[in-house]
C-alpha cells in the first residue's frame, strides 16, 4: 500500500489553504487598525501644537517680545528630553530663545526628521512655524509615541503570526493524519475486495460525516458486488451440474443414430429427438441469460408506473382458455387500480410463470386463484392453487436455478421458472413468499405501491 504524503493529503491542503487565507485576512485587519490609530495620534499632536502655539502668540500680543521670549525660554526649560521643542528667531534669523537651534521653514504643521532640528533621535517631530511680530516662532512635539506604537505593533503582529502559523500548521498535520488514517482504512478495504474478499467492510466512525456516507455507499456497493459474484459462481456450478444430464442424453442419442446408420437403418427419429434435446438446452440457456440480465438491474432504467391490476388481469385472461382446456378453474379477485413502479413485460412474465407452474404441477380439476389487493401501502399479489404444494423444507430450494422437486422429474420444465419469479420480484423490491395453501401452494409477492397522488 502506498502511504499518503503530507502535501498530497487533502486534509493538509485544506488546512494549509485555510491558514493562508486566515493570515491574509488578519494582515488586512491589522493594517486597517494600524492606520486608523496612527491617524488619531497625528491629529492629537496637531491639536496640542496648535494650542501651544496660540498660547505663546497671545503672550506676545499681551506683553510683547520680552514676555514671549521669556515664555519660550520657560516652556523650553520645562520640556525634558526634548519632548517638546521651541524656537524663537528674530527677523535676522538669530536665535532669541528655545531648546533647539534650527528649524526648517514649513508653511503648514508637519512631521520633520529630528536631524533637521539639530537633534539626534531616530523619530520625527511635528512642528508648526509662524511669524509673530516679524519674529519666527517654532513649536514642535516629538512623534516618539507614534514610532513606538509602530514598533510594538510590528513586533506584536510578528509574534501573533508565528503563533498562528504554528497552531494552524499543527492543526493541518493533525487533520491530514486523521483523514489519512480513514482513507488508508478505505484503501485497505478496497484492496482486500480486489483480492476477492467481498465481505470486507469499512468500519463507520459513527460521526455520520461525508466520509462515513461515502464509506456506507462503498460498503453497500461491495456487498452487492459480492452477491453478484456469488450468484455467478453459483450459476456456473449449477449449470455445469445440470446441463451434464441433457448433454449425456444427447450423446447417447447420437451414438445410437451412428450405430443405426452403420446398420443401414433410418435415423430420422434420432435426429429429431436430438434437435428437441438441443432446443431444450438452448431454452435453458436463454432463460439463464434472461435471469442474469434481470439480476444485473439494467432493466430498471426502463421502469415506469404501471397498473399491476391490469397486468395480472391480462395474464389471467391470456391463460384462461388453456386453464379450461386442462380441466382446471381460474378464479380472479382483483382490486384496482394498484400502481407500482416496474416493468410491464417482466411483471407479466412473473405471473405467467406462476400460472404455468400451477398448470403443470397440479392435477386436473384443480383451482387456480389469482388475487390482488392493497395492504399497508403494499400491493399484495398471489397466485394460489390447491394442488400437491411444495414441502416446507423445499421452499427455499425451488427458488434456486435449475432446482426441481423429485416428484416433478417427469413433468416438462427446466427448473428456472421460480428463479425468474424471484429475480423479477427482487428487481421490483418486492418480497416473495411461498406458503402452504392447505392444500396446495400459494406464491405471494408484495410490491411497494406508488402513491395515488403521483398519478
Amino acid at each position: 500500500m502506498r502511504p499518503i504524503k503530507l502535501f498530497q493529503s487533502s486534509g493538509f491542503r485544506i488546512a494549509f489553504t485555510f491558514t493562508l487565507v486566515f493570515l491574509l485576512a488578519a494582515s488586512i485587519a491589522g493594517a486597517t487598525a494600524f492606520s486608523i490609530i496612527g491617524e488619531e495620534l497625528v491629529k492629537r499632536h496637531e491639536r496640542v501644537l496648535a494650542s501651544d502655539y496660540e498660547t505663546l502668540r497671545s503672550t506676545f500680543l499681551a506683553g510683547g517680545l520680552t514676555d514671549l521670549s521669556e515664555a519660550v525660554a520657560a516652556h523650553a526649560a520645562a520640556s525634558r528630553n526634548h519632548e517638546s521643542v521651541y524656537l524663537l528667531l528674530d527677523p535676522g534669523s538669530a536665535k532669541i530663545a528655545g531648546n533647539i537651534d534650527a528649524a526648517p521653514s514649513v508653511s503648514t504643521p508637519q512631521m520633520v526628521p529630528a536631524k533637521e532640528l539639530g537633534l539626534n533621535a531616530d523619530f520625527g517631530y511635528f512642528i508648526q512655524r509662524g511669524v509673530v511680530g516679524g519674529n519666527a516662532l517654532v513649536v514642535g512635539s516629538s512623534a516618539e509615541d507614534i514610532s513606538e506604537l509602530q514598533e510594538i505593533f510590528v513586533e506584536g503582529s510578528l509574534w501573533a503570526f508565528v503563533v498562528l502559523i504554528a497552531i494552524s500548521l499543527s492543526g493541518a498535520v493533525f487533520l491530514s493524519h486523521r483523514m489519512n488514517r480513514r482513507i488508508e482504512v478505505i484503501q485497505n478495504t478496497l484492496e482486500s475486495v480486489a483480492d476477492g474478499k467481498f465481505d470486507a467492510q469499512i468500519p463507520a466512525t459513527g460521526g455520520g460525516d461525508d466520509i462515513d456516507r461515502l464509506s456506507e455507499i462503498i460498503n453497500s456497493t461491495v456487498s452487492r458486488l459480492g452477491t453478484s459474484v456469488e450468484s455467478v459462481r453459483q450459476i456456473s456450478n449449477d449449470i455445469s451440474h445440470d446441463l451434464k444430464t441433457p448433454l449425456n442424453r444427447l450423446r447417447i442419442i447420437m451414438e445410437e443414430a451412428f450405430e443405426k446408420q452403420a446398420a443401414g437403418e433410418p435415423v430420422a427419429g434420432e435426429i429429431e429427438e436430438a434437435i428437441g434435446e438441443i432446443s431444450r438446452i438452448i431454452g435453458t440457456f436463454d432463460a439463464l441469460l434472461r435471469i442474469a440480465q434481470i439480476e444485473s438491474g439494467a432493466r430498471k432504467a426502463r421502469f415506469a408506473d404501471v397498473d399491476l391490476a391490469t397486468i395480472l388481469e391480462n395474464i389471467a385472461e391470456f391463460y384462461s382458455t388453456l386453464v379450461e382446456d386442462e380441466g382446471m378453474k381460474l378464479e380472479v379477485q382483483i382490486e384496482r387500480p394498484l400502481i407500482v413502479h416496474g416493468d410491464r413485460e417482466l411483471l407479466s412474465q412473473l405471473f405467467a410463470n406462476l400460472i404455468e407452474n400451477a398448470l403443470r404441477h397440479c392435477p386436473g380439476g384443480s383451482v387456480i386463484t389469482c388475487s390482488l389487493a392493497s395492504k399497508d401501502s403494499l400491493a399484495v399479489a398471489s397466485v394460489c392453487d390447491n394442488g400437491p404444494g411444495i414441502p416446507e423444507n423445499e421452499r427455499d430450494n425451488v427458488l434456486r436455478r435449475l432446482y426441481r422437486l423429485e416428484t416433478s422429474r417427469t413433468t416438462p420444465g427446466s427448473g428456472l421458472g421460480l428463479s425468474m419469479v424471484n429475480a423479477i420480484a427482487d428487481l421490483h423490491h418486492a418480497t416473495l413468499s411461498l406458503e402452504d395453501n392447505k392444500p396446495g401452494l400459494c406464491v405471494t409477492s408484495r410490491f411497494p405501491l406508488v402513491g395515488l397522488k403521483d398519478l
Partner: protein, 225 residues
C-alpha cells in the same frame, strides 16, 4: 424478394442464404458493417437482415446510420443475446423486428415476409375480407357467409392480425408479440388454445377451412386455392 444479409458468422449466413435462395429470393451477403452500410444505402432492398454483433461497425450503428440517410428499408435484427432490453435498443435504432439466435429458419422467413410486403394500403381498409370471411374494423363485427360471429376482444385482434397478413405465415411468437404484446416464451400451448377457440368460431361451422396450421412454424389464414 431482394434481401441483404449482414452477418459475419459463415455457418449462420450459409444457412440463411440457402433457405431464402431455395424459395426463389435474391440474396446479397456482406460480412462487415462498413461495406454493409455502403451497400444498403446504394441499393434498394426489400428487407435487410442485420446481425447486431459485427466486426468493425456493429449492426445497431449500421442501421442508425442508414436511417439517418433517410432509407426506410425494413430491418430485422439478429442477436445472440436474449432479453427485452436488446429488443428495445434494436427498435430504437430504427429496426422493425428482432429475432434471437439460434432460431428456426421458418421463424426468420415468416418475419422477413411479413416485413417485406408490409401492406401500406391494407392499413387504410376498414373491412378485411378473406374468402367469405369479413371483419369490419369500424363496427368491430365479424361475419362469415353473412352469418354474424361473436368474438371476444382478443379473438378479434387475433383474427385481425391474421387477416392483415392474409396468405402469410405468422409464428407463435409473432402472434404473441402482435396480439398480446408479450415478449417472453410461454412453456405451455397457450397460443394454440386461442387459435383453436378462434377456429371453432370461424371455421368449424363452415365447410371450407380458412385458418391453417403450418407444421412446426405457425398459422396462416387464406382462401382455398
Amino acid at each position: 424478394m431482394r434481401i441483404l444479409l449482414i452477418e459475419d458468422d459463415q455457418k449462420t449466413a450459409d444457412y440463411i442464404l440457402r433457405g431464402f435462395r431455395e424459395n426463389g429470393n435474391v440474396c446479397d451477403h456482406i460480412e462487415n458493417g462498413h461495406d454493409a452500410l455502403f451497400q444498403a444505402s446504394r441499393e434498394n432492398y426489400d428487407v435487410i437482415i442485420a446481425d447486431r454483433m459485427l466486426p468493425g461497425l456493429d449492426g445497431l450503428s449500421v442501421i442508425k446510420a442508414l436511417r439517418s440517410t433517410g432509407k426506410k428499408t425494413p430491418v430485422i435484427f439478429l442477436t445472440s443475446i436474449s432479453g427485452v432490453d436488446d429488443r428495445v435498443e434494436g427498435l430504437e435504432a430504427g429496426g422493425d423486428d428482432y429475432l434471437v439466435k439460434p432460431f428456426a429458419f421458418s421463424e426468420l422467413a415468416a418475419r422477413v415476409s411479413a416485413l417485406a410486403r408490409r401492406p401500406v394500403m391494407q392499413q387504410e381498409k376498414t373491412v378485411l375480407k378473406v374468402h367469405d370471411l369479413e371483419l369490419d374494423l369500424i363496427r368491430r363485427r365479424a361475419s362469415r357467409a353473412g352469418k354474424e360471429i361473436e368474438l371476444q376482444p382478443k379473438e378479434f385482434l387475433l383474427l385481425e392480425t391474421l387477416m392483415r397478413n392474409e396468405g402469410r405465415v405468422l409464428t407463435r411468437t409473432m402472434l404473441l408479440e402482435r396480439v398480446w404484446d408479450y415478449h417472453f416464451d410461454p412453456q405451455t400451448s397457450v397460443v394454440e388454445t386461442h387459435i383453436s377457440r378462434l377456429r371453432a368460431k370461424i371455421d368449424k361451422p363452415f365447410e371450407v377451412p380458412l385458418l391453417h396450421t403450418i407444421r412446426s412454424t405457425g398459422y396462416s389464414i387464406h382462401a382455398p386455392d
